[in-house]
């Protein structure tokens, strides 16, 4: 486990197990989506859109 610092707060993660599209919550309470693995990059997860869902 590793603590990563992002502009949106800190994350305790195991970088080896992360997957694209995975959601994580930072210690600041921000939902982050894994958008790249190499190098590892997070972005605030998109808000639920009107046309999302089944």
């Amino acid at each position: 486990m590793q603590t990563l610092t992002t502009p949106y707060g800190r994350l305790d993660v195991d970088p080896a197990t992360l997957e694209l599209g995975e959601l994580l919550v930072s210690d600041d309470g921000v939902e982050l989506e894994v958008v790249a693995l190499d190098p590892l990059r997070f972005e605030p997860a998109p808000e639920e859109a009107e046309d999302w869902g089944e």
């Binding site: 694209l20 009107e50 999302w52 089944e54």
Partner: protein, 308 residues
């Protein structure tokens, strides 16, 4: 013995939900290699040949994104699950109603209107209360049960404020008196593999709204209605929502991006494995790419001199 398809299968996703993880696990159990494609990283060029292989399973969240990817991949020669025309129909409640009606599948009476006067006329015709739904949307969002003219006016005012062409399509449905539950049938190809009842306090019995789920038997009536609905919209991997009305089962919606995480335990059916098996069989039935052969030399063209 597991047969691995001789073709490339790709699962396209964006946000990784439990469903996508369960599907990857099911493909693993079948011994089927599936490539992952993270939709935000995709760049589809018109005219490119099968950029994601022969078979693609779309698990993206947005209807618009899913439809665009399906159209692009199909044009490039890929078999897409679900097919673009299925996504287009199921992602639009009015298109679904039209398809169900054309196939004679029972459904709540449904009306499309474009202004207040016609919504009110529809409500008088269908009987109050009526249900106003966005044509595009899910999880029960912005679905309103309207008991009188004041409620219609309030909702239409909000729709005007929201803007956008979809909010100007006023999809009105009769309110169906039914038990405090609805049914959902999981259709995989030409089979109904499981069914659930969703029960809740909210009149919109979506699990996204806290409805509880329990497995129910797939009765002949449920099976026939669900398969008819699935066939009407083009078939594939579908979740058919059914209402138990006095006049029989009515199809409420047909969902093309089915969510199933909460339905595995109550039904005892391994839904991800059913889906993965369907995709595997589809891939087995898909012709592998033709071997690359060197291009034939251009035919010789003889010129006989300029004519004037």
């Amino acid at each position: 013995m597991t047969t691995a398809p001789p073709v490339r299968i790709t699962l396209v996703h964006d946000r990784l939900r439990p469903e996508e993880r369960l599907l990857f696990g099911a493909f693993d159990r079948l011994g089927v290699d599936v490539e992952r494609s993270y939709a935000p990283d995709l760049r589809l060029e018109a005219g490119a040949e099968r950029p994601l292989g022969e078979v693609a399973v779309l698990r993206t969240l947005s209807h618009a994104r899913t439809l665009a990817i399906a159209q692009g991949l199909e044009a490039a020669g890929t078999r897409v699950v679900n097919a673009a025309h299925v996504v287009a129909t199921c992602g639009d409640k009015w298109a679904t109603s039209a398809a169900l009606a054309a196939a004679g599948v029972p459904q709540p009476r449904s009306v499309l209107a474009f202004d207040r006067a016609q919504v009110l006329a529809a409500a008088e015709d269908l009987g109050w209360p009526v249900v106003l739904k966005p044509v595009v949307g899910s999880w029960g969002r912005m679905v309103a049960r309207l008991h009188d003219v004041d409620a219609v006016d309030a909702v239409l005012e909000h729709k005007r404020a929201l803007g956008g062409p979809h909010h100007q399509l006023l999809y009105v449905q009769e309110h169906v008196d039914k038990p405090a539950r609805d049914l959902r049938a999981f259709v995989v190809g030409d089979r109904v593999v499981a069914a659930i009842a969703r029960e809740g306090e909210d009149w919109r019995t979506n699990t996204a709204r806290g409805a509880t789920v329990r497995g129910v038997p797939v009765t002949p009536d449920l099976e026939a209605t669900a398969l008819a609905a699935a066939h009407a919209v083009g078939g594939g991997l579908l979740a058919v929502d059914l209402l138990e009305a006095e006049r029989g089962l009515l199809v409420g919606e047909v969902n093309h991006g089915l969510e199933f995480r909460n339905s595995i335990d109550p039904t005892g059916v391994d839904l991800p494995l059913e889906i993965a098996t369907y995709v595997r069989d589809l891939a087995l039935d898909t012709a592998p790419p033709a071997p690359t052969t060197p291009p034939a030399p251009p035919a010789q063209v003889r010129t006989h001199g300029a004519t004037s």
